[in-house]
């Protein structure tokens, strides 16, 4: 596939992705930080719903032999160290590498600094990669997956895992109805006053 065609497809897919992220409100820093502070579970709901959808789709597409899978290599040290740093960054950014672009799209000013920091981090990693590779980034196990380890067919495990996640989501929704969780300004804040002495947040109200 040529680069311009791939980019056109990417742009269209990205527009759908961004539209869904905005409508779900999961791009709001209040919702992402709120998830990490365990006071808001909107991010987990959207995340697990997208995972569940992927599990069902890939069970069908892979089960029927229409597509092959592209799992990443299992590298315990890199997955743990990288994951911890990624999570710390997400909490302080109030964004993920994808949702920061939705923040830029809707107009949040600080998201531009997150993006610049992200590019700087990626460039720094690129220059450091040859040094990190032998100590942190070399897989000794290859691409481990639950199906390859257990020997069970992918589609059975994927559908079983999807069923488990759906049960979890039903319980989560009963515990925390989503309409209440997004809050009055759809940014994951309850709207309650902050503690005395804290600066009053300026709330942006949509035009009537």
């Amino acid at each position: 596939m040529s680069v311009p065609v791939a980019m056109l497809i990417g742009l269209l897919m990205g527009a759908v992705f961004g539209f869904a992220l905005e409508k779900s409100r999961v791009f709001e820093p209040g919702i992402i930080l709120g998830q990490m502070q365990l006071r808001n579970f909107q991010m987990l709901k959207i995340f697990l719903t997208a995972v569940t959808t992927g599990l069902v789709l890939l069970a069908v597409l892979h089960g029927l032999g229409i597509t092959k899978l592209h799992p990443k290599a299992t590298i315990y040290s890199a997955d743990i160290v990288g994951g911890l740093l990624l999570g710390a960054g997400i909490a302080l950014a109030g964004a993920c590498p994808g949702t920061v672009m939705a923040q830029i799209g809707v107009g949040y000013r600080d998201a531009w600094f997150t993006l610049l920091g992200g590019i700087a981090g990626a460039v720094t990693f690129t220059y450091a990669e040859p040094v990190l590779k032998p100590v942190l980034l070399t897989s000794t196990t290859g691409k481990l997956t639950l199906d390859s380890v257990t020997g069970a067919p992918f589609w059975i495990l994927a559908l079983a895992f999807a069923a488990l996640l759906i049960a979890g989501l039903v319980a989560l929704e009963r515990w925390r109805p989503w309409q209440r969780e997004i809050g009055p300004d759809a940014d994951g804040l309850s709207g309650a006053e902050p503690e005395p002495g804290a600066p009053q947040p300026r709330r942006w109200k949509p035009a009537a």
Binding site: F17, G54, A78, L86, A88
Partner: protein, 171 residues
């Protein structure tokens, strides 16, 4: 029925829509949904402007060009356009800095927030590149492929995120 002008959709409608993007990703591009390697493609191309030697690094060479790499850059740019479109249709465009940061950081200083955001972005992408994936690549796509490394990376991501967030003020 969800409408384009709605302020918010159910997380389940949005989540299914995001998950459905795996179909064109796997069938048209031959890859899973992901976002964080696009930062390497953009960053390495910028670096090459001042340092042509960057291409000698295998990792940079793998990300500098090609349809899959630029597909992901376009995907990430498209996210901004889609979010802008959605927010414009619902009257939910935002300005300045989200109110949560005044509560979480205990100050309304934009300079402090910009500095924290830059450092956060740096750490976030360094971590994503070490782990070889982020919330999309390891999370949405990796777990959907039952990849054990992805399940470990996402568990570590939430552990690191929760530990860091607890240091900030409860918003």
């Amino acid at each position: 029925m969800p409408r384009f002008t709605d302020r918010a959709w159910s997380p389940y409608v949005s989540g299914v829509l995001i998950g459905l993007l795996q179909v064109p990703a796997f069938l048209l591009i031959g890859t899973a949904l992901g976002t964080s390697s696009s930062y390497v493609t953009v960053g390495a191309n910028l670096a090459e402007l001042v340092d042509p030697g960057v291409r000698a690094i295998d990792y940079a060479a793998k990300h500098l060009d090609g349809a899959k790499n630029w597909w992901q850059v376009a995907l990430v740019a498209g996210i901004a356009l889609g979010a802008l479109l959605s927010a414009s249709l619902s009257g939910m465009r935002r300005r300045g800095i989200a109110p949560v940061w005044r509560r979480a950081l205990g100050t309304s200083s934009p300079a402090l927030r910009f500095a924290v955001a830059f450092i956060a972005g740096f750490v976030m992408l360094a971590g994503a590149r070490i782990a070889d994936g982020c919330t999309s690549g390891h999370g949405i796509s990796g777990i959907a492929q039952l990849a054990i490394g992805s399940i470990i990376a996402v568990t570590a991501m939430f552990a690191g995120g929760i530990a860091t967030a607890m240091v900030l003020r409860r918003a």
